[in-house]
């Protein structure tokens, strides 16, 4: 019973799973839709609308047994046809208009075996596919409803099989859901779930303080406001590790950072632990490679390079870099916390004799022009973290020759490693290779790994039984409110 209000930073504009990549779609839609698989806060993959599955034909076919007695919010029954419809739609005309299709490119076709069985035929094995089926574009949608009401209607009036059903949506303002009584799993404890779109962090926090919002979800809360929230007796902070990692990557092609020694020196020169403890208030953990501990491919044996300014100076001297050399660090202009971090980084670099200047860019310009075109300074901000929590999703795009996010480096050995793991379905073997990749990248000092930032939630004390999720895919059927 009761109503819970959540502040979410962005309105994705459409609730159709095939239309968007925004995490803030997922933080709402996870309550509306189900996938064949499900991954909860513990990041374990468990049955969702499929009760079991078998990987066949060397990973080129997967057979799913579907859950029975499941109903869509409009009363339509869930069955194999719905699954086929969903994926035909995703891979077909409608999916082509959106960005999700490319993520599921491995799927060739879906075959209905019987009412409760489907086969996925793959073009090539995709080790991450089962995870991908737990979210985003793979959410199962109601065929009859969409055919009847049309695609446009579906965008703004979503129907799924999840624990909450859609009530109303006001663009740029909010979306309202209510408990779905015929949910197949644990039924929701609260009656109403309201989301409000609040993009300005301090506004969201003010709403939380004023008691008009019960939960503020990431990436909203600026670190600077954490003490404010902690000091307020009615609200609190909860956090969990997240996939999001921050690094300053290097221009390995030109300038002083062409030299791996210099890159290492710069890494030695920055006291990342102190930055985490002070600026980030402990809401992050140090990283040795460009991934967090939740990532598949994380190597606990890898340790970050220590803070050692003496060593840094020594390396710089070896590389022939004179004190007073300058580097430019390109960052996103709208990230207040990182802004402070990078200023601290610059001041550490100053200590080892490097003059850093910081150049803020509008996010989209940095991401779609400056980095891909290789127009960055010696260092640039990259924050990354896929919800699939698989290092391939990071490493391939960051390190493989010719990839969008890799404008500078080309290393045949790295390319080979990256390609080799993609064909392998044995998780243990893949993990091994991914760890090798991480180690190799660290050896070459391709980036200065900074930290793995927690997912930080601001929450009202009236909310009970809330488990923070790492990846914004909030499912709130267990939560209750006073």
């Amino acid at each position: 019973a009761g109503t819970m209000t959540i502040s979410s930073p962005q309105d994705p504009g459409s609730w159709d799973p095939v239309d968007t990549f925004l995490v803030n779609w997922a933080s709402v839609a996870t309550n509306i839709y189900d996938g064949l698989t499900y991954r909860g806060p513990d990041t374990k993959l468990v049955p969702g609308l499929a009760t079991s599955w078998d990987v066949l034909d060397d990973g080129k076919r997967i057979r799913f047994k579907l859950r029975t007695g499941v109903k869509f919010h409009d009363g339509e029954a869930f069955n194999a046809d719905a699954v086929k419809f969903t994926f035909d739609r995703l891979m077909g005309e409608e999916g082509s208009k959106g960005p999700q299709k490319s993520n599921y490119a491995a799927i060739d076709s879906v075959e209905v075996i019987d009412e409760n069985t489907v086969d996925f035929h793959l073009k090539q094995p995709d080790p991450v596919l089962l995870t991908k089926l737990a979210g985003y574009g793979a959410m199962i949608v109601p065929p009859k409803y969409i055919q009847e009401h049309g695609e446009d209607y579906f965008n703004t009036h979503p129907v799924g099989t999840g624990p909450f059903k859609f009530v109303s949506y006001e663009p740029k303002v909010g979306i309202k859901l209510e408990k779905f009584d015929d949910f197949w799993g644990d039924k929701a404890k609260i009656d109403n779930l309201n989301y409000r779109f609040i993009s300005e962090p301090s506004t969201a926090v003010a709403e939380l303080q004023a008691g008009r919002v019960d939960l503020v979800i990431p990436p909203t809360i600026p670190i600077g406001m954490i003490p404010t929230i902690k000091n307020d007796p009615n609200i609190d902070i909860v956090s969990s590790p997240s996939p999001t990692v921050y690094a300053l990557r290097f221009n390995t092609k030109n300038g002083i950072t062409k030299d791996a020694k210099v890159r290492q020196a710069l890494i030695y020169g920055v006291d990342r632990q102190t930055i985490i403890d002070s600026i980030l208030g402990g809401q992050a953990s140090p990283i040795a490679s460009f991934q967090g501990e939740l990532s598949f491919g994380y190597d606990p044996a890898m340790k970050p390079l220590p803070y050692d300014p003496a060593k840094a100076k020594e390396l710089l001297a070896e590389a022939g870099v004179k004190p007073g050399a300058s580097v430019q660090i390109d960052i996103r202009g709208n990230d207040a916390t990182f802004n402070e971090v990078v200023q601290a980084v610059a001041s550490y670099l100053q200590i080892v004799g490097i003059n850093a200047t910081i150049k803020p860019y509008e996010t989209n310009v940095l991401l779609n022009d400056i980095i891909p075109q290789g127009k960055t300074g010696a260092m640039f901000q990259q924050s990354w973290g896929g919800w699939t929590l698989d290092f391939d999703n990071t490493a391939y795009f960051m390190y493989h020759t010719g990839e969008k996010w890799n404008p500078y480096d080309s290393d045949p050995k790295m390319d080979e490693l990256l390609e080799s793991q993609r064909a392998i379905t044995d998780p243990a073997k893949r993990e091994e290779i991914l760890r090798n990749i991480a180690n190799y990248a660290a050896d070459r000092a391709l980036e200065m790994p900074l930290y793995n930032l927690n997912a930080i939630f601001g929450i009202s004390h009236r909310v009970k039984n809330f488990t923070p999720v790492p990846d914004s895919r909030l499912r709130l059927n267990e939560v209750s409110v006073d």
């Binding site: 994705p12 459409s14 208009k97 703004t156 006001e170 303002v173 409000r196 008009r212 779609n368």
Partner: protein
């Protein structure tokens, strides 16, 4: 009158044309929406991008896209948002009243504050009341709107829990955003009213009005105010235009679902249809306000009426 309307119309066409073509062209230089839509996705191929561009109609030459937009405009069809495909007209229908009502409320707050203060300052020119009002108005100019807004929220919403910190739900929601903008506008308007009033107060007819034995308030608020209304109205009109454009920050702070928010998100997400539509609406509004101001001139000043 017909000539006047034709001229106004041509002017509107010109402004809307120049503004939209500039913005449409410039925004296309700042990044590809297809890239933006696929940002989170890893394995995006050129084919994927081409596919999305086609779906968004971006594969056509700029002029074709522009003319399609113009064509749509005549049927009030501004296309669909790149972000989620919502019809833009629907978004506008929601954002426009939100912004207009806030802008009006702010103007009203500012007018209610600045006219008596400005008149008081003018009447007591050089005395302490005048200096005090002028310095106060400068203080109002010294803090940025977002800062003032945050202070108000801390005080009224969090400390005293009187008003909602954000959103547009009911009358109470209007108070803080309108007050913030109103106070900032007042800072300049007080000076404006004061100056205009000083000019007018030196006129002979003000003396004549006093010589009739009229009370001081009748003299100031009836005879003097109406005579300096022309520059005031002109400036308020300009200000209203600027207000519509400058409302972005306030809308963000108060999470106001208006045109500013819409435009800001649209620029950020390179959502061309939304941006073009917002800009069109804004420029039409500004032309419309100019028109209203001109009509108001006639109502206020009979000399202009018969010209």
């Amino acid at each position: 009158m017909a000539g006047f309307l034709i001229k106004r119309f041509l002017q509107a066409v010109f402004v809307v044309f120049v503004v939209t073509i500039t913005v449409s062209f410039a925004i296309r230089l700042t990044g590809d929406p297809a890239l933006m839509l696929t940002q989170g996705a890893g394995s995006v191929t050129e084919a994927d991008l081409a596919r999305i561009r086609e779906a968004l109609g971006l594969n056509q030459p700029f002029l074709v896209q522009y003319f399609q937009f113009i064509k749509g405009m005549f049927t009030l069809d501004f296309g669909r948002s790149f972000l989620g495909g919502t019809p833009v007209s629907g978004l506008l229908a929601q954002a426009l009243p939100a912004t207009l009502s806030l802008a009006f409320a702010s103007m009203i707050v500012s007018i209610i504050l600045s006219i008596p203060l400005g008149i008081k300052a003018a009447v007591s020119r050089g005395k302490w009341a005048d200096q005090f009002i002028r310095i106060l108005s400068l203080v109002g100019l010294s803090f940025p709107n977002f800062w003032l807004a945050t202070m108000l929220v801390l005080l009224l919403s969090i400390t005293f829990r009187l008003l909602p910190p954000s959103g547009m739900d009911n009358f109470a929601s209007f108070i803080m955003p309108a007050a913030t903008m109103g106070i900032i506008l007042t800072a300049t308007n007080v000076r404006l009213v004061r100056t205009a009033m000083l000019e007018t107060l030196q006129s002979q007819y003000i003396m004549v009005a006093r010589a009739k034995g009229l009370s001081e308030n009748t003299v100031l608020y009836k005879h003097a105010l109406r005579n300096c209304a022309i520059p005031l109205i002109t400036y308020f009109g300009l200000q209203f235009g600027a207000l519509l454009g400058g409302i972005v920050v306030i809308e963000r702070v108060f999470n106001w679902p208006g045109l500013g928010t819409l435009a800001f998100d649209a620029v950020g997400g390179r959502d061309y249809p939304v941006l073009q539509a917002v800009i069109t609406v804004l420029s039409l509004l500004i032309v419309g306000i100019n028109l209203l101001v001109d009509i108001a001139y006639g109502l206020i000043d009979p000399r202009i009426r018969t010209e």
